[in-house]
Symmetry: C2
C-alpha cells in the first residue's frame, strides 16, 4: 500500500495567493457590479520591452527552420550567452562569477523551493518573519519544519522583522544552519544595507551555516549605496546561495525565467570546495531539463544595453505607482513602510484589526484586494501588503476608492 508524504498535512493553510484568489472571486460572485482593484499578488501588468519582444520573435522564428532549430540544451544550466550576460551583470557589482556557478532556471519560486533538497533533514532552518511563504512551505513539505500550529512550525527559527529593527532581523540566539534572507524584502519592502548583510555573512562563515539569499527585487533598489547582491559582502561566496528572477525586473511573471548562483567556494559540513555546486548541477540535470530556450533568448535581450534601458523605464513606472500608494496611505494617517527600494508597501492595519479582517474590510468597502501580512508568517499579523504593480489608472482608482470609501 502506497503511503502519503505526511508532511503535507502539516501545512497550515492553502498556499497564500490561491486563497486570496478564492476569497476575491467569492466576493466578485456576490457583488457582480463591483470593479475589483487588485493590489494583492505582485503581478506585473506592463508589456514586455520592445527589444525583448524582438528577441523572442527571433527565437521563435529560429525554431521554424531546420538550420536553426534546437532541441535539448547541451547544459541544463542554461545557454552560455545568458550565463555570460549574467556574469557581466555581477561584474558590474564588483562580483566575479564563473559561468558554471550560474544556473538558469524557470523562476525564483522553483529554485527557492527546491534548493533545500541539497541539505539534510537535521538542519535548523531560520526564516525572516514575515517572509515569502515558499521558503517555509517547501521546508514543511520536505519534513524540515516539523509540526505546525497557529501558522507557525515547531522546527523553524523565526527571525522577527519589526519596526524596531527596521525590518531586518538580528542574529538568532540559537545556532541555525540554513538562513533564508530576502532583500529588497517581500513583503516588507525593506532593503538591507551592506552592514546588515555582513552580520549574517560573518555569522554564517563562523558557524558554517548557509544563507539562501533571494534578491528577486534587486532591480527596484534606487539607493546606490545598497547592495544588489549578497556577494558584494566579502566572504559571501563561501556561505551564500543567491536566487534571482526576471519576473519583476522584466515582466516575466508568466514567461518564467530566473537564475541561481551556487558559488564553487561555497562549503558546508566537511564538503569539498565545489561540492554544493556539483550537487545542484546534478539535481538540475536529473530533475529539470533547463528553461525554455525561447524564453532564455528573451532573457539575453533583457540584459542587453537596450533591454536594460527599457526595463528601467517600466520599473520607474511601477515605482511611481508605489509613490502614489504610499502617499495615499500616509495621507490617511496610517503608518507604512517600503515602497522606495521595493515595489511593496507594508502598512499597519488601522485600529489594530487583524490582517485578514483588514483584507475583508478593504475588499468590502473599497473593492481593493491586498495581501494580509499574516499570510507571510506570524510576524506579519497586523500588517498588510499593497503591491505597486498595475496600470496607473487602476492604481489611481484604487487610491481614490481607498481615500473615499475606507472607514477609519
Amino acid at each position: 500500500m502506497a503511503t502519503l508524504n505526511g508532511n503535507f498535512s502539516n501545512l497550515q493553510a492553502g498556499y497564500l495567493f490561491p486563497e486570496i484568489a478564492k476569497r476575491t472571486s467569492e466576493f466578485a460572485a456576490k457583488n457582480p457590479d463591483a470593479k475589483i482593484l487588485r493590489l494583492g499578488i505582485g503581478d506585473t501588468s506592463e508589456p514586455l520591452a520592445p527589444s525583448v519582444i524582438a528577441r523572442l520573435r527571433n527565437a521563435v522564428d529560429k525554431m521554424s527552420k531546420v538550420e536553426t532549430y534546437s532541441g535539448y540544451s547541451d547544459d541544463s544550466r542554461g545557454t552560455p550567452e545568458l550565463r555570460e550576460a549574467l556574469a557581466e551583470r555581477y561584474a558590474a557589482y564588483g562580483v566575479e562569477l564563473a559561468t558554471d556557478e550560474i544556473f538558469v532556471g524557470d523562476g525564483a519560486k522553483s529554485d527557492s523551493a527546491n534548493i533545500q533538497s541539497l541539505f539534510g533533514g537535521g538542519n535548523v532552518v531560520a526564516v525572516q518573519d514575515p517572509a515569502y511563504p515558499v521558503y517555509v512551505d517547501s521546508n514543511v513539505i520536505a519534513g524540515k519544519a516539523g509540526a505546525g500550529s497557529n501558522g507557525q512550525y515547531d522546527g523553524l527559527v523565526y527571525m522577527p522583522c519589526t519596526e524596531d529593527n527596521d525590518f531586518f532581523p538580528t542574529l538568532p540566539s540559537e545556532k541555525v544552519d540554513l538562513i533564508y534572507l530576502c532583500s529588497p524584502n517581500n513583503p516588507t519592502g525593506a532593503a538591507a544595507t551592506l552592514h546588515q548583510l555582513k552580520t549574517f555573512v560573518d555569522y554564517a562563515r563562523e558557524n558554517r551555516a548557509v544563507i539562501i539569499f533571494d534578491s528577486a527585487y534587486a532591480s527596484f533598489i534606487s539607493d546606490p549605496r545598497l547592495p544588489r547582491s549578497i556577494y558584494e559582502v566579502e566572504g559571501a561566496k563561501e556561505c551564500a546561495i543567491e536566487i534571482n528572477s526576471f519576473s519583476k525586473e522584466a515582466g516575466f511573471t508568466g514567461v518564467r525565467l530566473g537564475w541561481t548562483i551556487v558559488p564553487r567556494d561555497l562549503v558546508c559540513e566537511d564538503g569539498a570546495v565545489g561540492q554544493l555546486n556539483g550537487m545542484w548541477s546534478r539535481r538540475q540535470n536529473t530533475m529539470f531539463n533547463g528553461a525554455s530556450i525561447i524564453v532564455q533568448a528573451g532573457g539575453e535581450a533583457v540584459l542587453s544595453e537596450q533591454g536594460q534601458a527599457e526595463c528601467k523605464e517600466t520599473i520607474a513606472y511601477y515605482m511611481a505607482n508605489a509613490r502614489c500608494i504610499k502617499d495615499c496611505i500616509e495621507g490617511l494617517g496610517i503608518t507604512c513602510y517600503g515602497g522606495v527600494n521595493a515595489p511593496y508597501i507594508w502598512m499597519k492595519t488601522p485600529s489594530g484589526v487583524t490582517s485578514w479582517e483588514f483584507f475583508d474590510k478593504l475588499l468590502g468597502e473599497t473593492h481593493v484586494v491586498g495581501t494580509p501580512g499574516s499570510g507571510f508568517g506570524p510576524g506579519g499579523e497586523g500588517y498588510f501588503r499593497l503591491s505597486a504593480f498595475g496600470h496607473r489608472k487602476d492604481i489611481d482608482r484604487a487610491v481614490e476608492s481607498i481615500q473615499k470609501n475606507l472607514k477609519l
Copy 2:
C-alpha cells in the same frame, strides 16, 4: 553547521546524458576531423510545425501590448484552453477527465522526478529494468532507494524487462507500493498491450499501490490496438498517475512543456478521494509557477487539428529513420527490438561486449554516438539504444558508417 543531503552521495554515477556528452566531446577533441553522428540522446531535430510557430508568434505579440499582456497564470495547473484540449485528446481515447485532473508542467522530466514527493519515505519503489534514469535517481535523492552498489540500489525492486518477457515485466513477487511503468518504453522501444497494463492495474488496485505511468512516447504508437493511455484500462484512475510530454510529439525538447494527470479517484493509504489530486495541486502551487504562457499557447496549437496533422508528418519522418536504423542493424545480423511503436532501437551488443565497451567501439570505429543500455539499469547491460531522432541525411550517414566501419 549546515549538513548535506547525504542521499546525493548514494548516486552511482553522473546523470547518464551529461556523461555521454562528456565522453563524446573528449573523443571529438582527440579526433578533430571526425564527423560525429549522434544517435544517443533522444533529441528532436526537425523544426516546429508551422501552426505551432504561428501560435508562438501570436503569443509573443500579445506580450507586447498592454491590452493582451499577461503575468502569472490564475492557476498553476495551466491555461484552461490547454487543459480542455488535453481533456479532448483523452476523450478520443475513451477516457473522461476533468480539467482539474490535468496539470500542465514544464516537461515530463520535472514531473516524473517530483511526483515521488507526494509519497512517504517507507514506500517500496519498483522500476522496470532497464528504465529512464530519472525515476531511479529522483528516488535516490529523496532517500527512497537506499544505498547503491554496482549500479543498483538496495531499496528498489527491479522488474526485469528481457527478451523472454517481451520487455514487459511480470508482477513483482514481493509487495511494492510505487510502480514506475513507461510505454512505449524508453529505452527498449516495447509498447505494452492493454492486457499487459491490466495485470499491473489489477495488482495496484488490489494492493493500493500507485502506478506512475510515463506515456511520453504515446504518439509514436502505430498499432491501433495498443493503448495510448493507462486510463484505457478499466479502474486505472483509482491507481495511476500519468505523465506525458510535448517534447517528442511536437519537438518541444528545448521549448519545455508536458502534463501530468492526477485523477480525483486516485487513492492510496486511507486518503480521501481527491486527496492526492489536492496534494499535487498544493505542491505545484508552492514549488512551481506554471509553464511559460508563451509555450502553453504553442501547446494549444499542437493539439489543434492542423497541429496534429503537421506533428504526425514529423513523427512519420522519425519513424522512417527508425526503419533505416533497424534494417541496418538487422542486416548486420545483430538482434534488435523496438523501432516500430517507439522511436528507439534496442540492440544487443555484438560479441557479448558490455554496453560501455560497445559505446567506445561504435564511437571509435564509426563515429556514431549511441546510449549504453547499462545506463538505464543493470538489466540494460549488453544492450545499446539508438535513437531515431535526427535529420535523414545524418541517419543515412550513420547507417553507412556502421555498415562500412563497424568491425564485427
